[in-house]
Symmetry: C2
Subunit: 345 residues, 2 copies
């Protein structure tokens, strides 16, 4: 798709403020060179905000970043509902006028936008709408049960809580243990990182489980473990249907629960997140009798806690649930990889 | 849309054989005149198969039914995955050549088919793809909690088990009790019957709950009870995501569980349907803390049992669950309407 292109990441006013997980994911795990980040509310470099990539500076807009030589503009924040904010148009137009590709995970299909399509045709930049699913998806039917690999799904107490990151860190730890894992992306950022995948939240309801199944069936061969990126949460009133489609399509052999200790309420709601043992019980109850699965470890997202508080939270959750617990960004995912290894019959 | 048009119902080889719930629903509850049913595997009239509408004869194909004067061909069976069977094309072409409208609930959008579109333009028949959702749907966010009406959702131990029928029969019983109910359709047949609605299983994952919410918010005013047609089942590996999107979008105040005593396995799978108390517990566990809801009655679909067996099953399930139980087609829905009335605080 867009391997090796030099990226300019677009996150105006949002970088590191809770809605830029796409931008941050590509910076942490992506393989492309990154020449800069557009966010007028920031100065300095990426490292000043998320502690990595001091080579990546901020720019106030696309115009001022063109001298750094980007080949593609990657839209790195996720506006609510996936629509295109009106104030982004001028920057996208400018990028296309300079022949850049556009990489987008928005619901709004940029390649269908007449103005963008015309600019793309005139100046040669390609528009990649990574969220657009293939059109020939099947209805799910538990075909994954025929795959010999372990299937580990990350699930969450809420949406946007670290499921992709947990899957990617577990992948690294499993490689070190000599396993042959495969990260299977189900959302735009994961697809941007891995170069394949289907945005399950963009798939028509009847085919969500089937799309998940298809991804696993096609890519599992050659791997002894498939790490499926989870989406949403069974507890989020807007996105829970996607989460269940993914759970019943992936038919995991094990689950890893992702949680953020400082988050008290389900995002966009006034609903408190229930105690973790209840969340675990809910996910386990919703696995089908065809293949019941357990949550076998916890990935805590303690990005907003200092090290002492993080260790205290890890100890508390480990005590509460009896499960191996870590913050995969701060301390790696080795204990989760070990639990996954042990769970293999 | 297509009020008052004389319908020819298309169900080749399938009428009354388990995949023609659209055809049967329109025959039982629709308001349009019906001139015939296309099914070469049947002879006689509709009444010979489902016991109603002796005025509606079978025809072997569209050509032989044209003399009956249909104004619209309604596609009345649901092929797996919603695709258009290749062998239907000639009949649809013939109908369009004779100026008939086409009413379709398939995933395959007939109005986008170049051949059908051209015939529609040339001969004046309109193509209604009732499954196509509106494009401006929101993300769900529990807005339904602001609606003062009771919200009753039909849920199922499996898909295609009688949820729409239960909602429609409950509507009739509630009218007799002096309530002002509204049937809110969420699938193609319901839309064909009620003249409005959104096919939730055709909505993109992220917007399923939002679409449900939107339907209720727009149509609830003037009604003291909203009867939302359920879809799929939390236990069906292919469709469960749609079911949960609908459950969290509708945020019901009460649920009615639909079940078919003779069905042992979840459709398309080798998975036994769990005992009903487990199914009930699963649905209740999956209602969100924002508004927990109970299953308060059972609608059994005993179409394939004689009256004695039906009564025995009703008694058995009532004993097992402690809940009012009926077969709404054979004995009406009065006991369910009464339970709904009583549940109003």
């Amino acid at each position: 798709m867009f391997q090796d292109k030099r990226l300019l990441i677009y996150a105006p006013g949002e970088f590191g403020r809770g809605h830029s997980k796409t931008a941050e994911g590509v910076l942490r795990y992506g393989r492309n060179p990154v020449v800069g980040i557009v966010d007028a509310s920031r100065s300095g470099t990426c490292a000043d905000v998320i502690g990595i990539r001091p080579d990546v500076p901020f720019y106030p807009d696309v115009a001022s970043a063109l001298s750094a030589g980007p080949q593609a503009l990657l839209l790195g924040t996720a506006p609510r509902g996936g629509r295109l904010p009106a104030e982004w148009r001028a920057d996208i137009r400018l990028a296309l006028e300079h022949g850049l590709d556009i990489i987008s995970g928005l619901h709004h299909v940029l390649a269908d936008d007449p103005e963008f399509r015309a600019l793309s045709a005139r100046h040669g930049g390609t528009i990649f709408d990574v969220r657009e699913p293939p059109s020939d998806l099947p209805v799910g039917n538990a075909q994954v049960l025929s795959v010999p690999a372990q299937v580990v799904l990350t699930v969450g107490s809420d949406c946007a809580i670290g499921k992709m990151t947990a899957s990617l860190e577990i992948e690294k730890s499993l490689v070190r243990r000599g396993r042959k894992p495969l990260f299977v992306p189900t959302g735009q950022t994961g697809i941007m990182i891995a170069g394949f995948g289907i945005s399950i939240d963009r798939v028509i309801g009847d085919f969500m489980a089937g799309a998940t199944e298809k991804l696993i069936l096609e890519h599992a061969p050659g791997h002894d473990i498939v790490l499926v990126e989870g989406q949403g949460s069974l507890l989020h009133p807007g996105y829970s249907g996607v989460t269940l489609g993914l759970l019943h399509g992936a038919m995991p052999t094990e689950m890893i629960l992702c949680h953020q200790p400082s988050r008290q309420f389900i995002r966009d709601t006034t609903m408190p997140i229930p105690p973790l043992p209840e969340v675990i019980a809910l996910y386990e109850a919703m696995t089908l009798p065809l293949r019941k699965a357990k949550v076998i470890g916890i990935a805590l997202n303690c990005f907003d806690l200092d090290e002492e508080h993080t260790r205290r939270e890890i100890a508390r959750v480990q005590e509460l649930t009896g499960l191996p617990t870590t913050d995969v960004v701060k301390f790696g995912a080795d204990c989760l990889a070990e639990a996954i290894d042990k769970a293999r019959a």
